[in-house]
């Protein structure tokens, strides 16, 4: 068979080079070696594209340009007191089985969500005002609710109300309002999503369908991508200029907008030297963020400043504060001075704690996050310059997050919340509301820092009705952040995304940032409805 197969072998995926106009948009999943036919959006393990191409939300928020695009709802209105929100549904939207979308579907969706998965504590009641209007009532003024509700997928009541156990329903042939709902050729390593014949904006169904491919890891997915066998990837590609762009400068592109969450080096503030903001700031100055973003993150990330805000929130940033940042600038001498001043003197090349012991610390990172391990290693090198011995610990993520949850860790590289506004971020790093004593399970604020002053600002932000009112709170929070240094902000996580426009055009770019290049987030639908096949 060896000789025989040598001749027939060759091109892998079917689509490469196909420009018939009917080509499928091929997307790899590097994190799923195999697919299971589960299109239940309630399941955390729903098959890819369930939430991107099959089911749709009321409105689409793009992190790239921070814009909200009306989708299943055409408009919405917040009550004056901020305690309710009313959506008006689009006319003429049909489920893929031909039935019309009604307000009942929306009401049912949220009922089901609360029943099966919980959440939405602030949500008092969802009512269908009429067939096209839905009203969400809250138990308090809560402006971030808009993003949660508008971004939530909507399910057809007439299907789901008949399902006995919605949590365990695999929904093999989904009925949704999305552009591509027809599942074809489902196999363990690939499947196709074809056009929804009843789509409400048929003019935007330019492409014939989507083809998903399963890969066993970044390596094999990237290989397919750099070989031109898939169109759009979101996996981390090392040295993308060389390994991808250089192969076909004309068609191969990437764009890594800094729309991800802020990645922090968190110090457990319940432990001795780290409870001192001066120490935290001193350590922060020891970190060479430029090297981290350049080497560990392959130059794809943006260094953080002392406002703590990710680049996503640029419009919220207090630029004058940002310009005068001190403790996020790399300055080993300053670190040494600051530590000396705080009482952590160096002797014999080793920095000492106040009790005379060596200043040492552990940095824990989940073993799967190789890029963050490199980040930790650079921090370790940087700390060595000021006489601090750091040890990088890389157990499995589950062990790491267990130590975060209970507050038993020393320091660690951690993600942060990434909402439409900085609300979630500041709540996560500074609010006392989220604060749990060591030993109790915490779900955010692992570093266990809380500032009552921050609470006030955060609550005021949630209750504020408009952006101008919120701006003040955010400015206050930034100043507080600069003072407290609750965590050591490192860089804004980039949103990976690369594509080849050999077979499809219309991709979001830096110049046209209508969405990010992620293919599994809320704005993916915008890309799916913008791409056009290359013909001929």
């Amino acid at each position: 068979t060896l000789v025989l197969s040598a001749c027939t072998g060759g091109s892998g995926a079917s689509g490469a080079g196909d420009t018939s106009g009917n080509q499928l948009l091929t997307i790899p999943r590097e994190d799923l070696a195999t697919f299971t036919r589960n299109f239940n959006p309630l399941s955390p393990q729903a098959a890819p594209m369930t939430l991107q191409a099959v089911y749709e939300p009321l409105a689409v928020h793009s992190m790239a340009d921070a814009k909200d695009t009306p989708w299943l709802a055409t408009k919405w209105e917040q009550a004056k007191d901020g305690k309710s929100l009313t959506f008006t549904l689009r006319d003429g939207v049909k489920w893929s089985d031909g039935q019309a979308l009604t307000a009942d579907d929306v009401v049912y969706t949220f009922q089901l969500q609360k029943k099966v998965l919980g959440g939405f504590d602030y949500l008092d009641k969802v009512t269908a005002v009429d067939a096209h209007t839905v009203k969400f009532s809250f138990n308090k003024a809560f402006s971030p609710a808009f993003y949660e509700i508008s971004g939530h997928y909507i399910l057809p009541k007439h299907i789901w109300s008949k399902v006995k156990d919605p949590a365990k329903f695999t929904n093999p042939n989904p009925v949704g309002t999305g552009p591509y709902t027809k599942i074809e050729k489902f196999q363990s390593q690939s499947y196709e999503l074809l056009k929804n014949p009843d789509y409400w904006q048929p003019a935007k169904q330019h492409i014939a369908g989507i083809q998903m491919l399963a890969f066993s890891g970044n390596d094999s997915a990237n290989l397919a991508f750099t070989n031109g066998e898939v169109d759009w990837t979101q996996s981390f590609i090392p040295d993308i200029e060389k390994s991808f762009v250089a192969k076909d400068k004309k068609h191969n592109h990437y764009w890594f907008p800094a729309t991800g969450a802020m990645i922090n080096w968190q110090l457990n503030t319940t432990k001795a030297p780290f409870n001192d903001p001066a120490v935290r700031k001193a350590l922060s100055m020891a970190v060479d963020r430029d090297q981290i973003t350049a080497v560990a993150m392959n130059g794809y990330a943006e260094p953080a400043d002392c406002t703590g805000l990710a680049r996503t929130y640029d419009k919220w940033r207090d630029t004058s504060l940002a310009a005068s940042c001190t403790w996020t600038k790399y300055d080993t001498d300053a670190t040494a001075k600051a530590l000396d001043a705080a009482g952590y003197k160096e002797s014999g090349g080793k920095r000492k704690l106040k009790n005379g012991k060596d200043f040492t610390l552990d940095i824990s990172v989940g073993s799967a996050s190789s890029d963050w391990i490199s980040v930790a290693n650079i921090i370790k090198q940087d700390l060595a310059k000021v006489g601090i011995t750091a040890t990088v610990k890389t157990p499995d993520w589950s062990a790491v997050s267990a130590s975060y949850n209970t507050g038993t860790f020393d320091t660690g590289i951690v993600w942060s919340n990434n909402g439409a506004t900085p609300y979630e971020y500041f709540r996560g790093v500074m609010s006392t509301k989220m604060l749990q004593p060591v030993g109790k399970q915490a779900t955010e604020d692992y570093h266990r820092f809380g500032d009552k002053k921050a609470d006030k600002l955060i609550d005021a932000f949630a209750a504020a009705a408009d952006e101008s009112a919120q701006r003040k709170q955010i400015d206050g929070l930034q100043e507080l952040y600069n003072e407290d240094a609750p965590v050591v902000p490192l860089f804004t996580g980039p949103e990976w995304g690369a594509y080849t426009d050999a077979r499809f055009t219309g991709w979001p770019t830096e110049k046209n940032p209508y969405a990010t290049l992620g293919n599994r987030n809320g704005s993916t639908i915008l890309v799916l409805t913008s791409l056009k096949p290359v013909k001929g």
Partner: protein
């Protein structure tokens, strides 16, 4: 018959032991799948969903022995639970859709390696000091010294990427509908070449050397001298007398090798994005998907045990001496 029963007894005991091990192991792991999933989602998940998810996944807090009893019970009734990382797909379904590929890859590689290795070994022992005998053993040892994954990656880049002779991934071309037709079968075969090749390369040396050495040992037995004295032709002595006996240890090794092959297949599956339960297991472990992990481990164990049992049966056919004992 008694022998078969005795073996069966052993295998059942071994199976029980692996069920127990299987039950015990994951329970020592730190963390639980839900917080793991939460950590993985990196902030995109609602914290208050955690308790709900726990309920959803049915992680129970009953006393251990109760869990054990019900675990054994459900395993024996073929219910391996519901996968967490592929919720709500039953574990048996996940495994069912994958195991065929592992068996195909592992089986093909094992059979080729064993047959090729044994034949080479026989010939090498037969022509002592010949080219085959002096060149192959060190060469194959050397090739076999490379880590599976290293050879796999090397082969992938050399034959797949640079030369483009073989497909780079998957068990068959995307878009092909599985079926028993020439196109599909040859497609599957093409995809099998590289992954199987690496496993064969790594393991064939062991088979060859083993066979060569037992052949040489066997050739010194009195019954071989007797056969020579009887004036039988050399080939008859070689195959009917020597090889037949020298093959016996290989048969036992064959059963044992299955376990290794699954391991080897796991690494190759990762490199070639080949479907299979080996890689699935790695994912399950990383996602703390107890039920899937247990299910896969149990399935592999059961398969290895079953294969060994079958090998034992074959052995009984091949070696009349064990029949009466």
């Amino acid at each position: 018959m008694r022998l078969i029963l005795r073996n069966l007894g052993f295998y059942l005991l071994a199976f029980w032991a692996s069920i127990t091990l299987n039950f015990v192991l994951p329970r020592f792991m730190p963390g639980d799948p839900v917080s793991r999933m939460f950590a993985q989602a990196q902030g995109t998940m609602q914290p208050d969903q955690i308790a709900q998810l726990r309920k959803l996944f049915g992680l129970d807090n009953r006393p251990l022995w109760e869990q054990y009893v019900s675990y054994v019970k459900s395993v024996l009734t073929g219910d391996l639970g519901i996968s967490i990382s592929r919720f709500p797909t039953p574990v048996s379904e996940v495994i069912g859709s994958q195991i065929g590929w592992t068996l195909l890859l592992g089986g093909v590689a094992l059979v080729i390696a064993a047959v090729l290795g044994n034949v080479l070994g026989i010939v090498a022992a037969w022509r002592r000091g010949g080219v085959l005998d002096s060149v192959f053993p060190p060469l194959l040892i050397f090739v076999g010294s490379f880590p599976y994954f290293w050879l796999a990656m090397g082969a992938l880049y050399l034959f797949g990427v640079s030369l483009g002779w073989f497909p780079l991934r998957h068990a068959y071309d995307v878009g092909l509908t599985p079926g028993f037709n020439g196109e599909f079968v040859s497609n599957v075969a093409t995809h099998l070449v590289l992954p199987a090749l690496t496993i064969v390369l790594v393991s064939v040396g062991g088979w060859m050397l083993g066979m060569r050495n037992t052949m040489i040992a066997t050739a010194a037995e009195d019954y071989i001298t007797m056969a020579e004295a009887k004036g039988l032709s050399p080939s008859r002595i070689m195959f009917r007398y020597a090889a037949r006996n020298a093959l016996l240890p290989s048969v036992t090794n064959f059963g044992m090798a299955l376990g290794f092959v699954v391991g080897g297949a796991l690494l190759t599956e990762v490199v070639f994005a080949y479907p299979g339960i080996g890689y699935q297991l790695l994912m399950a472990v990383q996602g703390l998907d107890y039920p899937l992990m247990q299910g896969i481990f149990l399935t592999i164990t059961a398969a290895v045990l079953l294969a060994n049992f079958l090998v034992d049966l074959v052995y009984v056919r091949l070696d009349p001496r064990v029949r009466v004992r």
